[in-house]
Symmetry: C2
Subunit: 141 residues, 2 copies
Amino acid sequence: MNIGDVARRSGLPPKTIRYYEDIGLVSPLRSGNGYRSFRESDLHKLAFLGRARSLGFTIDDCRTLLKLYEDDGRASADVKKIASDHLTRIDAKVEELLAMRRTLSHLVHECAGDNRPDCPILDDLAASASVDGPVEKSVHR
Amino acid sequence: MNIGDVARRSGLPPKTIRYYEDIGLVSPLRSGNGYRSFRESDLHKLAFLGRARSLGFTIDDCRTLLKLYEDDGRASADVKKIASDHLTRIDAKVEELLAMRRTLSHLVHECAGDNRPDCPILDDLAASASVDGPVEKSVHR
DNA sequence: CATAAGGGTTCCCCTGACTGGAAGGTCAAG
DNA sequence: CTTGACCTTCCAGTCAGGGGAACCCTTATG
């Protein structure tokens, strides 16, 4: 299979597949004309990677997951740990976004959104942007 | 004020402040020794930027918000639009993360996490990674 | 006076995970 | 012969800074 076929069947862009080869995630063969020649097993790996990436795993996680996948003697605990840690990261990110969301949503509701200049959103940005007050240490100017 | 003072009072790292100057968000004066010399108004801008960034606005949004902030003839509608659009982006991101979270959380609960190799997580990655079936067009190998 | 500490400066490279584009080789069809 | 669809490599850019080198300025201390 050429890269285009693999791209269609895996759903990954050719650029991404080349990139994955670059960083050593797949190692397709080469045909006489220099084209990459993918085996079914390469396609399978790429699809695995695509799925893992779509669940938000980092490339580094993917590399480890792929190794574990290919290791018949793996302990599922190792896989579970990677996934749990990732879940924790996701939760943290969601919390962060929801905190922003709360503030923003409040401000947006307060703002008239007309052609007048008065704007609680800008007020908040400017005010909460209150500065710590004059500096005391390092008094040299 | 030197950059260190401004960093302390605005909560932004000196590196970030220099970067903001680089991309034209602030324009501090220079003292005779070549040091940046920040006015209170620069500090204010930087604090504004820090607050906007902490709410997740992109640098580009920040640039626009800053312009609007300094424009007495602004329409609050313009500000509101930026904030609303950002809110929409946040919601989309949260949804995306929650979708990942649902799948991952399910898989993690299914996985024994012991020293045996059987692992529903890997099974899912490998299986959902099912390929589209043989390619029909572009049949040249 | 020398020097050390603790500011500051510019400059360049690095990050993650790709994406875009240029310049050029290969292959089958019309 | 040429067109068009593939493929190749390589370089540069993205976003928002962070790390670190090499060097300058100022003040305090021995």
